[in-house]
Every structure is written in structure tokens, then in C-alpha cells.
């Protein structure tokens, strides 16, 4: 199981918000946002809730579980 996310899509829907701007709003580094978007880092519950607060969406609309098949489809 991996954690997928719509962070990149949501950022672009929000006036093409940069990773740096989002990072500044939730008090983390740009590297952390980049790693979350790429699925290389799973955020803590607190951080996930902070991100949800910024985009005014429920957490599960931003983060979702990927099973292995979804992952393979995504890779294709």
C-alpha cells in the first residue's frame, strides 16, 4: 500500500500556488512538499490536517491509499 495525493493538482487549482508558498503556509520546507507530492514521504497526521486546512478540503480528498494495481496503472 502506498499513499497517493492530489497535492500538485490542488496547488495548480489554487492560482498555481508554488511549493515554496505552500511550504511557507504550513511551516515546513519546500523539500518536504516536493517529497510528499512525489510519494517519497508520508506526512504526519498533523501535517496532513494542516495541508487540508490550506486547501479547505477533507484530508481524504487530498490523500488516498493506492493498492499495487493502482500504482502499476499510475506508472504506465
Amino acid at each position: 500500500m502506498k499513499l497517493g495525493n492530489n497535492l500538485r493538482k490542488l496547488r495548480f487549482e489554487r492560482d498555481e500556488m508554488s511549493q515554496q508558498t505552500l511550504a511557507g503556509l504550513i511551516d515546513v520546507t519546500r523539500m518536504t512538499i516536493y517529497s510528499i507530492e512525489k510519494g517519497k514521504y508520508i506526512p504526519s497526521t498533523v501535517l496532513a490536517l494542516k495541508i487540508a486546512q490550506v486547501f479547505e478540503r477533507p484530508v481524504e480528498e487530498i490523500f488516498f491509499l493506492l493498492d499495487e494495481n493502482d500504482q502499476k496503472k499510475g506508472e504506465k
Binding site: Q19, D27, V28, T29, M31, T32, K38
Partner: protein, 299 residues
């Protein structure tokens, strides 16, 4: 006169000063032998001017260090080179004092002892100072206008500074290992070996300690728990875990090595183990924070 112009003048004087010192020392070297137990007036005068030149070079090192810290985030693609430059600059600054100590030794001992090794070390250090000063002058002018305030409040766990901190740690680890091996291969007399290795180990750690202090001063108003963001903490934990797992068998090998080669002093093995662990830790953290990938992705 503008500040920039004044600094460039100090830079030019430093380069000229180092060239002057090299010429003066080349002139003195064959003359300062037991055949001339008391230095001539000309040599004393040359020495006094060399002291002034060293003072200017020292001031310029401090100016370059402040500038290097102010411009660390000026070019994300060259952070490693910049970190390497900071380490070289700090070590060069410290070895300016070593030069003075070598010159004092030469001055006291040339009439009785052979001071060839001191001269060789002195010229080696001076070459390093010249390279650092020349690169520093180029880097300062290249990054002009991109300075930030030295201790300005930074965003939580700035990524560039975090990467630079670990790069400095990695370079210090390599410098430490190289220093220990060089002191072993370089034929340092056995009676001085332990002290020499310890001194080199401490010297190799000075840039990392200085950079960490700089990080601490920048974050002085924040609680320690908020110096790093959660991914940086996670990366540090991973780095520590991998370093620990590799360090365990490495320690066993080193203990075996110390039993098989009992002639090597304990600081040799301890320094090797310490710097190798530091290198692995920093290397893992740097690997998990590869900035070029991030830059491409966000471009």
C-alpha cells in the same frame, strides 16, 4: 569609497600579501641556517612586513566567511561547492595561526635544528590560503547582490541550510579520514602521532561545529524541537539508523584491526570509526535531500 570597493582592495592586498610572503620566505629559507645564528636586519624587516600581510589575509578570511554564509542560498545548484568552500575557508583561517606557530618554530630553532619540514608545511598551507582567497574573491563578486542578512529569521528548517549543514559534515568526515591516514603515512614521529591525530581530528571537526553554531544562532529564538521540520527529522533518524547499522560491523573490524596491528595508536582507530560514521550519516541525509532533483521538478 563604497564597501564593495574597500573589500576588493583588502582582497587585492591579501593576494599581494601572500605573494610577498611567499617571495620573502623563499629568500629567507636558504639563509636561515646554523651558519647565520642571528637573522640579518633585512630578514627581520621582511618578517615584520609578513606579519602585517598575515593580518590583512586574516581579516579578508573573516570577510569572506561572512559573505560565504550570507550567500549560501544564492545558487541552489552549487550548494555542495559552496559548502566545500566554507570548510576550506574555515580550515584555511585556522591554519593561518598554524603558519604563525610554524614561523615561530623556524625562528627559534633554525640555528640548532633542521627546519625543512616546517618550511614545507608552511609553503603547503600558503598555497592553500592563496587558492581559497582567489576562489573566495571570485565567488564574492559572482554572488554580489544576492546576500541575505547574516542572522535573519529563517523559515522553519530551511532546506538549503539543512543540506549545507550535512554537506559540511560529509566534507569534514572525508577531511578527518584523510587527515588521520596522511598523518599515518606521512611519517609523523611516533611520539607525536597520538597528539597529531587528535589535533587533526579536532581541526577537521571545527567547520562542522562552527556551521552548527551558526545554525543554532540563526534559530536562537526558537525551541530546539522546531529547528527542523518533520521530514528533516525523519531523514536524520534514517541517517542515524543506517550509520549505526554500518558502524556496528565496522567497529568489530576496527577492534580486530587494532588487535592485529597493535602498533597503531587507539586514536587512529577511534578517529577512523568516528569520521566514517559521520560520513555515512551525512551521506544518507544528503542523498535523501537531493536538491538538483527538486529544482528540476519544480521548474
Amino acid at each position: 569609497m563604497t564597501k564593495n570597493r574597500l573589500i576588493n582592495i583588502i582582497g587585492a592586498l591579501s593576494i599581494l600579501g601572500l605573494a610577498y610572503c611567499a617571495s620573502a620566505f623563499f629568500y629567507m629559507k636558504p639563509l636561515l641556517t646554523p651558519a647565520m645564528p642571528v637573522p640579518s636586519k633585512l630578514i627581520l624587516n621582511l618578517g615584520n612586513w609578513a606579519a602585517i600581510a598575515y593580518l590583512i589575509v586574516g581579516i579578508y578570511h573573516l570577510i569572506l566567511l561572512v559573505n560565504a554564509l550570507q550567500t549560501i542560498s544564492a545558487d541552489e545548484k552549487r550548494v555542495f561547492l559552496h559548502s566545500f568552500y566554507i570548510v576550506a575557508l574555515i580550515l584555511s583561517g585556522i591554519t593561518l595561526l598554524t603558519d604563525l606557530s610554524l614561523l615561530t618554530d623556524i625562528g627559534k630553532e633554525f640555528a640548532i635544528w633542521d627546519v625543512q619540514n616546517e618550511w614545507t608545511m608552511l609553503f603547503g598551507f600558503m598555497t592553500a590560503h592563496l587558492i581559497v582567497v582567489l576562489y573566495g574573491t571570485y565567488a564574492r563578486n559572482h554572488n554580489r547582490g544576492r546576500e541575505q542578512k547574516l542572522f535573519e529569521k529563517i523559515r522553519k528548517g530551511s532546506d538549503i541550510f539543512f543540506v549545507a549543514l550535512n554537506q559540511v559534515g560529509f566534507i569534514c568526515a572525508i577531511a578527518g579520514i584523510a587527515g588521520v591516514l596522511v598523518s599515518r603515512i606521512g611519517g609523523v614521529p611516533q611520539s607525536f602521532e597520538t597528539g597529531f591525530m587528535l589535533m587533526l581530528s579536532i581541526l577537521a571537526l571545527v567547520p562542522l561545529i562552527s556551521f552548527f553554531l551558526y545554525w543554532a544562532i540563526r534559530n536562537r529564538r526558537k525551541a530546539f524541537s522546531s529547528w527542523f521540520d518533520e521530514k528533516q527529522v525523519a531523514d536524520s533518524v534514517t541517517g542515524a539508523m543506517i550509520a549505526f547499522l554500518i558502524a556496528l560491523p565496522m567497529f568489530i573490524l576496527l577492534i580486530a584491526g587494532s588487535l592485529l596491528l597493535p602498533t597503531l595508536p587507539a586514536p587512529f582507530w577511534l578517529s577512523l570509526a568516528f569520521f566514517a560514521t559521520l560520513g555515512i550519516f551525512s551521506g544518507v541525509v544528503i542523498f535523501r535531500n537531493r536538491i538538483p532533483g527538486m529544482v528540476e521538478e519544480t521548474a
